[in-house]
C-alpha cells in the first residue's frame, strides 16, 4: 500500500461512518502517526471539537506537527501524559493539561470529563494516542476497564472516539475486547 492509498482508504472508511462513531484504528507501524493525523484532520475539518490524549508524544511536538499538517487546534484540548516524564511540572497550561504519567488513568478520566464539559455544544471527539503506549504503564485488565469507562462515557454523551493502535502491538484479548466495544475496527 502506498502512502496515498492508505490515506484514501482511511478517509473512505471514516466518511462512511456517519456523524458519531467510536473506532479502533489499527494500523501498520509505518502508517501509525500519519493515520492519527488523518483521523484528527478528518474530525477537525468537520468543525468537531475534541480532546487529544497524548500518551506517546508530547504536547509541544504535537502542536508543531499539527500546524505543519494544517490541523486546526483551536477547538482542541490536550491531555499530555508524556512531558512530565521529561521534567515538565504537572498542571494546566493553555489548552493542555500535563499529567504525571500514562499510569495516571483516574486523572485522565477526571480531566476528560472536565474538558468535555468546557467545550459546550456541538460534535465532540476523543482521540487516544496510543493504546500500545498505555500498555507499557498499565496492566491489561486495568486498561480494559479504562477503555470501557471511556467508551461508555462517549456513548452516553453522543461523542465520537478514536482508539489508535499499532498492529501486532497489543495482546489478542485486549484487541478483541476493544474491537468489540468499538463500533468498527479500521485496519490500514
Amino acid at each position: 500500500m502506498t502512502d496515498e492509498n492508505f490515506k484514501t482508504k482511511l478517509n473512505n472508511e471514516l466518511s462512511g461512518l456517519g456523524d458519531k462513531f467510536i473506532i479502533l484504528l489499527n494500523t501498520d507501524s509505518k502508517y501509525y502517526f500519519d493515520s492519527v493525523l488523518e483521523a484528527l484532520k478528518f474530525m477537525t475539518d468537520r468543525g468537531m471539537s475534541g480532546i487529544y490524549l497524548a500518551f506517546a508524544r508530547p504536547y509541544n511536538y504535537l502542536t508543531k506537527t499539527f500546524k505543519k499538517y494544517d490541523i486546526d487546534t483551536q477547538n482542541l484540548f490536550f491531555i499530555d501524559a508524556v512531558s512530565c516524564m521529561a521534567g515538565k511540572s504537572p498542571g494546566e497550561q493553555g489548552g493542555c493539561v500535563f499529567i504525571e504519567s500514562p499510569s495516571s488513568l483516574e486523572e485522565v478520566g477526571t480531566w476528560t470529563e472536565i474538558l468535555m464539559g468546557r467545550m459546550g455544544m456541538g460534535s465532540k471527539f476523543l482521540i487516544v494516542d496510543s493504546v500500545p503506549t498505555l500498555l507499557i504503564y498499565n496492566e491489561v485488565g486495568m486498561l480494559k476497564n479504562f477503555s470501557q469507562l471511556l467508551i461508555n462515557r462517549l456513548r452516553l454523551h453522543g461523542e465520537s472516539g478514536v482508539f489508535a493502535s499499532i498492529d501486532m502491538e497489543i495482546p489478542v484479548s485486549f484487541y478483541e475486547t476493544l474491537s468489540a466495544l468499538c463500533d468498527k475496527t479500521i485496519k490500514v
Binding site: 509541544n60 504503564y137 498492529d167 489478542v172 485496519k187
Partner: protein, 149 residues
C-alpha cells in the same frame, strides 16, 4: 524469545548513568543482556557491525536501544537519525535519554522517530520509575495481535 535472550544497546558516556542502569538490571529482575557503547560512534559501529562488532552471532541486533543525547563523537540525535533511516534498524524502538528537558531536544527526538524520551533531571527515583516499565515492556513483549487483513 525469553527476556534473558533479549538485548539492549545502551549508548551512554556517563559511567554513573551506566552503573545506575546496570544496577537496575541486577536488582529489578530484568534479565536482558545489556550492551554498552561509550559514545555515538561506538553505537553506530555496533549497529552496523563495524570493527570489533563484526560478528553477527556475538553481537546481535538489539531489541531496544537507549541513547543519551549528549555524547562525544556522534551525538544521540545523529545516531537516532541513522537508525530511523535504515530499513531494518528503524523497527527497533529507541528511548532517548537526556539531562535536559530542552524543548528543542524533545522536538528533535520525536521528529526523528524516537519512541520514548526520558529526562535524567527528573530525579533518581522518577528516572527509574519511568525507564523501568519501558525496558520491561520491550523485553517481555510478545507480538500477538492479529495481522491486518
Amino acid at each position: 524469545m525469553k527476556q534473558k535472550d533479549k538485548n539492549i544497546l545502551l549508548a551512554e558516556d556517563s559511567s554513573d548513568d551506566v552503573e545506575l542502569i546496570k544496577r537496575k538490571f541486577r536488582y529489578r529482575d530484568i534479565e536482558g543482556r545489556l550492551i554498552i557503547a561509550r559514545d555515538g560512534e561506538e553505537a553506530l559501529n555496533y549497529l552496523y557491525r563495524k570493527k570489533k562488532y563484526s560478528d553477527r552471532e556475538k553481537f546481535p541486533d538489539p531489541d531496544l536501544i537507549i541513547l543519551d543525547i549528549r555524547m562525544p563523537k556522534v551525538n544521540g540525535i545523529e545516531v537516532l537519525k541513522a537508525i530511523k533511516s535504515d530499513r531494518i534498524l528503524k523497527k527497533i524502538p529507541v528511548v532517548m535519554l537526556t539531562i535536559s528537558n530542552l524543548e528543542n531536544d524533545i522536538i528533535d527526538s520525536f521528529s526523528n522517530g524516537c519512541e520514548h524520551y526520558v529526562a535524567k533531571s527528573v530525579g533518581f527515583e522518577k528516572f527509574e520509575d519511568t525507564l523501568e516499565p519501558i525496558i520491561k515492556y520491550y523485553l517481555e513483549k510478545n507480538r500477538v495481535t492479529p495481522v491486518s487483513q
